[in-house]
């Protein structure tokens, strides 16, 4: 099953590279226009893959750490924080000055939100799962309110920019941002993969993990940090794209089993492919109009997730 996924990756990426607004066409790389088109598509496909992989792995890790099937990359307020950061950058006109300003703003605010959530959830030297979830929800709504305030006060262009970014968009133009985001996601992925067996044990509860020779506190902090890093990098690259982090790990558990040693790489590959396919649909389904990719992930992912919930085949027993 796993190797099937690996084989799927070049097929999906190659296919997506061929697809354009005008249909399946290989642009002539000898012309300047052809090269430009190829470059744009390549950026987009790679960005989609990296973002999808980051979101899916982050979702899988958070679901294990929070022992909650509904956990997803945005659950700890990361999305609203990043959204607020991006909106501030756009409103105050930094976005026009540097291509890196928006991703950087989103990234910093995402991390700040997580740090706040974590600090709020920590009491008497312990971090409770409910504390994390609750403070995540509350900080998330505070950030959302501030975001709405900014939207209400924003100029027309600013409004358009913020909204477009919030809906999710894989077409960036900064190769530097893509390289940086990819590196962060890759490093964070390696760390959580290295923690795979600890994540397995931690789903039995922190006490059992302790008995099995694992330090629950260390694994939780590392895991939360890496998951947030991946999410923040993905959000900075592409805006808010929902559902990938929620449904991909669920679907993959049914295919490769719940063990994280296999689940995490499988989620990365499948999440990447899923987002690339969704983006290909977003680019071509209503051509020449381009639909935000977040709309497609929700439209494809929502019904699928409902079906999964009804089947309960994803195996969350509680």
């Amino acid at each position: 099953m796993f190797w099937l996924l690996v084989a799927l990756v070049p097929l999906v990426l190659g296919g997506a590279l061929l697809l354009g607004g005008a249909g399946a066409l290989w642009p002539d790389p000898r012309t300047e226009l052809g090269r430009a088109i190829l470059q744009l598509r390549l950026y987009r496909v790679l960005c989609g893959f990296v973002v999808g992989a980051g979101l899916a792995v982050s979702g899988a890790v958070l679901q294990a750490l929070l022992r909650n099937p509904l956990a997803e990359p945005y659950v700890l307020g990361v999305s609203s924080g990043a959204g607020l950061g991006a909106a501030l950058v756009i409103t105050f006109g930094f976005a026009a000055r540097s291509a890196l300003a928006l991703p950087a703003g989103a990234f910093l605010f995402a991390l700040t939100t997580l740090a706040l959530v974590y600090a709020l959830a920590r009491q008497h030297g312990r971090t409770s799962i409910y504390g994390l979830l609750l403070s995540g929800v509350i900080l998330s709504s505070i950030a959302s309110s501030l975001l709405l305030l900014l939207l209400a006060l924003a100029s027309t262009e600013g409004l358009h920019g913020i909204t477009w970014w919030l809906l999710g968009n894989l077409q960036g133009d900064s190769t530097a941002a893509l390289a940086l985001g990819s590196t962060l996601i890759a490093v964070a992925f390696l760390v959580v993969w290295w923690l795979a067996r600890d994540l397995d044990a931690l789903t039995l509860g922190p006490e059992m993990a302790h008995h099995l020779g694992i330090s629950p506190a260390l694994v939780t902090v590392l895991g939360l940090g890496c998951a947030t890093l991946m999410t923040a990098a993905a959000v900075a690259l592409s805006g808010l794209i929902g559902f990938v982090g929620l449904i991909v790990p669920h679907a993959l558990r049914a295919l490769v089993g719940p063990g994280h040693r296999r689940l995490l790489p499988a989620s990365a590959l499948a999440g990447g492919c899923f987002l690339v396919v969704c983006d290909a649909v977003a680019r071509t389904a209503f051509a020449p109009v381009e639909v935000p990719v977040g709309v497609i992930t929700a439209l494809l992912g929502g019904p699928f997730f409902l079906w999964l919930l009804r089947r309960r085949a994803a195996g969350w027993m509680e």
Binding site: A64, R67, N68, P69, H124, W193, W194, A196, R197, D198, D200, A201, T203, L204, G205, E207, M208, H210, H211, L212, G213, I214, S215, R253, G257, P258, G259, R261, A314, G315, W316, M317, E318
Partner: protein, 416 residues
């Protein structure tokens, strides 16, 4: 060397003390049960042993080494824990779950090696789970889940196994199944076992030693016969218990049903006139509801007399198989004189016991309440001149209350 040693351990969650100066050593190959009421500190002892809760004072030694100085992966090879209820939100199969027991034994990202697989097979074999290894853990029954939890701990291949109430959620046959499994592990592998338990009898049956805790202190430590003493258990559990010590058998603890005071009313003094087993159930109910009960006259050996003796009810007694004589009647009259109510049971009347009616008539005459059983009234008069029936009817006419079921007696006593 001792497998586990606790030296003057005090431990606390936040502010409240849960263990106070506990000193306890567990020898290798021993099976020790930690007993005591809820909140006595049993589970906390387990937490201190595994280093989950650092002791506020004192030292916990595992194989002679301070548990706080032992690194996680190494500790997981010394001591394994079976929690009260193992659960995971993920759809692990039994095999995958048991593999988690090897979490810190094999290399990161490596598949389990030959040694790991051997440990897993052995754990599954001991717990009789080889055939269930592909089944999702969540679909197992309570007993199977507990076996899987034990298999997970066995896969760690430790010399010490700690269990937190291993039989708490199980029905009788699964309780025995689990304890017999532990017994086998204890004997065949000389595994050191420490478990908390609420079941004093199961603990006495299987464990070599018991440790009794109360309010965070160790109050008794020794063999089951030494620890399970009525006085001590009464103090610790605030409950009346009887302990039966029979040679060659584990002591057996049985809580005594505590008499409930009559609901909504004060306890009454009641005298029961019966015989031939007609009053046994009534006597039991009166005693249970806390009424001050007496009875008689009864012939010795009569089943009502036996019931009275077992219930520690005062009874006026006559020689076996004899008519009720003046001595027994006088003794009964004295008991009845103190009673606020006299209850006449469904007793057949003959020349030997017709004197019972005299006691009832006297009581009614002095204003006490009299309750007369009226079931099969017409068929119970075996006196030569059939004198009993008219006297019974006269009692009812003069204000005695009729009853048929014992509940009616209890209700009537409550109302008065």
């Amino acid at each position: 060397m001792n497998a586990i040693e606790l030296q003057h351990i005090s431990a606390a969650y936040r502010e409240s003390d849960v263990l106070r100066d506990v000193t306890l050593a567990v020898a290798e190959g021993e099976w020790l049960a930690l007993l005591g009421p809820n909140g006595a500190g049993k589970s906390t002892v387990l937490r201190v042993i595994t280093g989950l809760l650092p002791a506020r004072a004192g030292v916990a030694l595992l194989g002679g080494r301070d548990v706080r100085a032992i690194r996680g992966a190494e500790r997981a090879r010394l001591v394994a824990v079976v929690p009260q209820e193992l659960s995971t939100p993920l759809p692990f199969t039994v095999g995958e779950l048991v593999t988690l027991g090897r979490s810190s034994a094999h290399g990161r990202l490596a598949r389990p090696g030959a040694a790991d697989r051997r440990a897993i097979e052995r754990a599954l074999a001991y717990t009789d789970l080889l055939e269930l290894r592909e089944r999702p853990f969540a679909e197992l029954s309570g007993g199977e889940k507990q076996r899987a939890a034990i298999a997970l701990a066995l896969a760690q291949e430790t010399r010490i196994l700690l269990l937190d109430e291993p039989t708490a959620h199980l029905d009788l046959n699964h309780q025995w199944e689990i304890l017999q499994l532990l017994d086998r592990l204890n004997r065949e592998c000389s595994l050191t076992i420490v478990m908390t338990s609420h079941d004093l009898n199961l603990a006495a049956e299987f464990c070599s030693r018991l440790a009794l805790f109360d309010h965070g202190a160790l109050v008794a430590l020794g063999t089951p016969a030494e620890v399970l003493r009525e006085e001590r258990l009464r103090e610790v559990y605030h409950c009346d218990v009887r302990v039966r010590h029979e040679s060659g058998r584990a002591p057996e603890v049985r809580p005594e049903r505590r008499p409930q005071p009559a609901a909504g009313g004060r306890a009454k003094k009641v005298h029961v006139l019966s015989g031939g087993g007609s009053g046994a159930e009534l006597l039991r109910l009166l005693v249970l509801t806390g009424h001050h009960t007496s009875c008689g006259p009864l012939n010795m050996g009569d089943s009502d007399a036996q019931a009275a003796a077992a219930l520690e009810v005062r009874a006026a007694l006559e020689k076996p198989f004899s008519p009720l004589g003046a001595g027994a009647l006088d003794a009964a009259r004295q008991l009845a004189a103190a009673a606020e109510a006299l209850v006449l049971a469904e007793v057949p009347f003959g020349s030997g016991n017709v004197a019972l009616l005299a006691l009832a008539e006297e009581a009614l005459a002095r204003g006490a309440r009299v309750l007369v059983n009226t079931r099969n009234l017409e068929q119970r008069d075996f006196t030569p001149q059939r004198v009993a029936l008219p006297r019974l009817k006269a009692l009812l006419e003069r204000g005695a209350r009729a009853w048929q079921h014992a509940d009616e007696v209890l209700q009537a006593l409550e109302k008065s």
